[in-house]
């Protein structure tokens, strides 16, 4: 496939992930959407490093590795937050915690 086709796949996955983040109320589903978005960005990095002549061949791959490691750290912290939220409010709906509401 060409670069453009990879970028289109990545854009579609990014859009679907963003839809998941916005439309779903379950916080686990929101995390799933964030993972989709981060992964599409990683695909972009790798595709650019394969097809473009800017920079070294490995820059994009190493950026992808960094994004992946940070995404996993984000998932761990996010799920820890989610469990704390469930203990505090008894629900993982994104509209339940409203302590700061005026």
């Amino acid at each position: 496939m060409t670069l453009e086709q990879y970028l289109i796949v990545s854009a579609l996955v990014f859009g679907l992930g963003m839809f998941t983040v916005i439309a779903r109320r379950n916080l686990i589903a929101v995390l799933i959407g964030i993972e989709l978005m981060l992964n599409s960005v990683t695909l972009n990095f790798v595709a650019f490093s394969r097809f473009s002549n800017v920079g070294s061949l490995f820059d994009g791959q190493i950026a992808a590795v960094f994004v992946m490691a940070l995404a996993v750290a984000e998932a761990a912290v996010g799920l820890g937050l989610l469990l704390a939220l469930y203990r505090r409010f008894g629900s993982i709906d994104s509209e339940t915690p409203d302590t700061l509401k005026g």
Binding site: E4, A23, I28, I62, L83
Partner: protein, 172 residues
């Protein structure tokens, strides 16, 4: 079928399965189904990494996501109750506006890619240094990108300690 032809076939299969399972992850009625479709998407993107000649990110993707994030998400689903509201598809609910906005965003991105098609010089060949790929990645990672690597390791430590702190049971 020759090698190039089967590569192209696999690329198309991986790309199609990435997009369709991302779609089903977005619209599934149950969170557990969403999680399963997420893993299919992640695996397909790992396959696309292989097709792009990036074995190291592909293997890391499988190890980290299917090994780590999958287990985390499945455990989180098992530890929290399912709600009745999750059973209705988000497509049915009021989500027409976000769908419209995201559709516009995605088509704008696709338009941009075609508009600036010639900006990136396509067709770099990576066959020559295929054998030393792993070595080159290691050299880059521990030489040019050493500082980000160290910062990342500190970040991971903080994330693990923070996740444990957040998820622990509070007494009293």
């Amino acid at each position: 079928m020759d090698l190039i032809g089967s590569m192209k076939l696999f690329e198309i299969i991986f790309a199609a399965s990435a997009v369709t399972s991302a779609f089903f992850a977005a619209v599934s009625q149950r969170v557990f189904h969403s999680a399963l479709f997420l893993f299919i998407t992640l695996g397909s993107i790992a396959g696309l990494f292989f097709m792009l000649g990036a074995e190291f990110p592909a293997i890391l993707q499988i190890l980290l996501y299917v090994g780590g994030v999958a287990v985390l998400i499945v455990f989180a689903i098992m530890m929290t109750p399912a709600r009745e509201e999750d059973r209705t598809s988000p497509l049915v609910k009021w989500s027409l506006l976000p769908m419209l906005g995201i559709g516009v965003l995605t088509s704008f991105l696709v338009y941009l890619f075609y508009r600036y098609k010639n900006f990136f010089d396509s067709g770099r060949v990576t066959g020559d240094d295929y054998d030393s790929m792993m070595r080159m990645i290691a050299e880059n990672l521990f030489d040019k990108y050493f500082l980000p690597f160290e910062i990342l390791s500190v970040t991971l430590l903080v994330a693990v300690v923070g996740a444990l702190f957040l998820a622990r049971k509070r007494e009293g």
